[in-house]
Symmetry: C2
Subunit: 191 residues, 2 copies
Amino acid sequence: MKLLEERILKEGTVIGNEVLKVDHFLNHQIDPVLMQAIGKEFARLFEGLGINKIITIESSGIAPAVFAGLEMGIPVIFARKHKSLTLTDNLYSSTVYSFTKKVSNEIAVSKQFLSQDDHVLLIDDFLANGQAAVGLIDICKQAGAHISGVGIVIEKSFQKGRALVEEQQIKIESLARIASFKDNQVVFVEE
Amino acid sequence: MKLLEERILKEGTVIGNEVLKVDHFLNHQIDPVLMQAIGKEFARLFEGLGINKIITIESSGIAPAVFAGLEMGIPVIFARKHKSLTLTDNLYSSTVYSFTKKVSNEIAVSKQFLSQDDHVLLIDDFLANGQAAVGLIDICKQAGAHISGVGIVIEKSFQKGRALVEEQQIKIESLARIASFKDNQVVFVEE
């Protein structure tokens, strides 16, 4: 997605060899106009698959997911990473290991919002080692829901996340695919 | 806002005397169509005040805030409650005490996204004891930013949050105002 790649080049900051900071429009400050365009692009890419629900994970997945949900006319569930006062029982949960933070987090979704009747699109802001995606897929499988696709805003294609999704025969679309960070510059995957 | 009150009556669950669970459309599953309507209503209520930025707090404030941001054509910043790998220094921060969870959390916003030139609308999903709102107001004041208003999706009017905002002479608009939970039923403030 050209608009997104341009914003990454203009406003993203590369830290070391692995971290891309996009706090200007996605992870801390959010550009709603860009998020709407992203939501429309996800809707286009996953059209005609009978998808009736989107699942994402707090917090940075929420903005792209709700605009996709509006465009597709379907609800969005966000998995919680942290204990909530009102989300306490009847949960599907999975453990997600963060390589960057070196901690494991439990993620959870209430059982009342996912069932075997659902055809789910999974949306997240980043895909790197794929641990969050695998955790969300695990939760969908516990519910017996069909996973119709995975939509990612920014994929670090030099890490293993995409392979982990593809080996489960799940359609995956990433709006920006990063091949490498070379001399602190973002290099996109050539199409 | 009639549409919102109807959804609260239809899908909200009252727990005890103080907790309203709205996991069906706001705090866990999100209804993007309702969120868009909420965003438009905030834009209408705070029109003409020269607002150039929205601030909210993760996670449940994000959906209403991004739709308001789209409608108003301005960016949204979400304060982080939890430490982030890429949000580490140059922060405005404040301590927010949660009466329900009985813990204090540090919330933080990067200094690069707030300044004395900003006219800020603060948006959040709930207002009860007002601690999150006061924390966000504190952060705006540290930046020297002007706080143009506070927009709340659901206000528990029997708690002190609204008074804490009003005593600072800040305009506040809540889309649903709850007078009490009587016999596990929601009673709205009469207009």
